[in-house]
């Protein structure tokens, strides 16, 4: 405790989250927990560790929730990283199936069929 006005950052996170996101503010409203992320390029040596890790792990599609879990970073931080990667066309974001007030019957039947196989 060297500073008397120590910021109340989460004790477990030594790097402030705005450093990980490169200072970008969140304009990442378009991501859902189950938006699927698929890499469209290989990690580059110049990349920060977190975006590079996202590109490596999303060679096969993963949900934003899974990316958040594997990076142990909060969802909101991951979405900031992802918006930059989407803007740079490093990853593709595949939106979830849109669900209206009541979901589509074909979708429900597919889910029922899938669950019965469990």
């Amino acid at each position: 405790m060297t500073s008397e006005n120590q910021d109340p950052w989460d004790e477990a996170q030594p790097v402030p989250l705005y450093v990980i996101t490169g200072g970008a503010d969140s304009s990442a409203k378009s991501f859902d927990l189950v938006t699927l992320i698929a890499s469209r390029s290989e990690p580059e040596p110049s990349m920060s560790p977190e975006p590079a890790a996202i590109l490596s792990m999303c060679q096969y599609p993963l949900s934003v929730a899974e990316v958040s879990a594997y990076l142990t970073l909060p969802f909101s931080v991951v979405t900031v990283l992802l918006s930059q990667l989407v803007a740079d066309e490093h990853v593709e974001a595949i939106a979830p199936v849109p669900v209206a007030a009541y979901p589509d019957r074909g979708l429900l039947e597919a889910v029922i069929h899938g669950l019965r196989k469990l």
């Binding site: 109340p8 950052w9 989460d10 989250l17 859902d32 927990l33 189950v34 938006t35 699927l36 698929a38 990690p43 990349m47 560790p49 977190e50 590079a52 890790a53 490596s56 792990m57 096969y60 599609p61 993963l62 949900s63 929730a65 899974e66 958040s68 879990a69 594997y70 990076l71 142990t72 970073l73 909060p74 969802f75 909101s76 931080v77 595949i94 939106a95 979830p96 199936v97 849109p98 669900v99 007030a101 009541y102 979901p103 589509d104 019957r105 979708l107 429900l108 039947e109 597919a110 889910v111 029922i112 069929h113 899938g114 669950l115 019965r116 469990l118």
Partner: protein
Amino acid sequence: MDYANSDAPPKAGPRDPDLLLPHSARGVKVVVVGGFGVGKTTMVGAVSEIPPLTTEETMTQAGVGIDHNPGAAGKNTTTVAMDFGRISINEELVLYLFGTPGQERFWFLWNGIFEGALGAVVLVDTRRIEVCFEVVTRLEDRRVPFVVAVNAFPEAPHYPVPELRTALALSDSVPIVTCDARDRASCRDALLELMVYLCTLAAQESA
């Protein structure tokens, strides 16, 4: 923890068996909601094809006025963990199952979770049924379709379904099922109950 090379990117990601097919197209989600210790994570784990994972959300402004958080005065961020699992339905569809706490102070999480969700399973422990009153009301307000699944803890009191329905002030149409959150087939059946209920609602809507 030792790092052989501190410049290497974090080696994180799924194990090989947890990879989705490259052409997995779309995600859908279902939410399991209930009080602490009711078995949400157990249920998610029972049906998930991957070991349950945890995603975190930081609560900052979103929690103001909702989360009183008396133990953390002066702390302006709080992290809440949500466990989730995954079921590949077919080559085009992946179902994600999120467990989220039902207490009022966690409702700030609900916006992100319930938006676009197919529906919810309200998991009930009959020893602590009171948590579910507010959950049920809140889901009805948000027009999220749900079924009630009573997690049959061995030592928990057993109530007949009509009594539970009255206690939770549920309409006759909301299905109530008993399940064992540890049992895959039992949890699958609770999810199927939700899907069949959603079909019924969809049919009524289009009628």
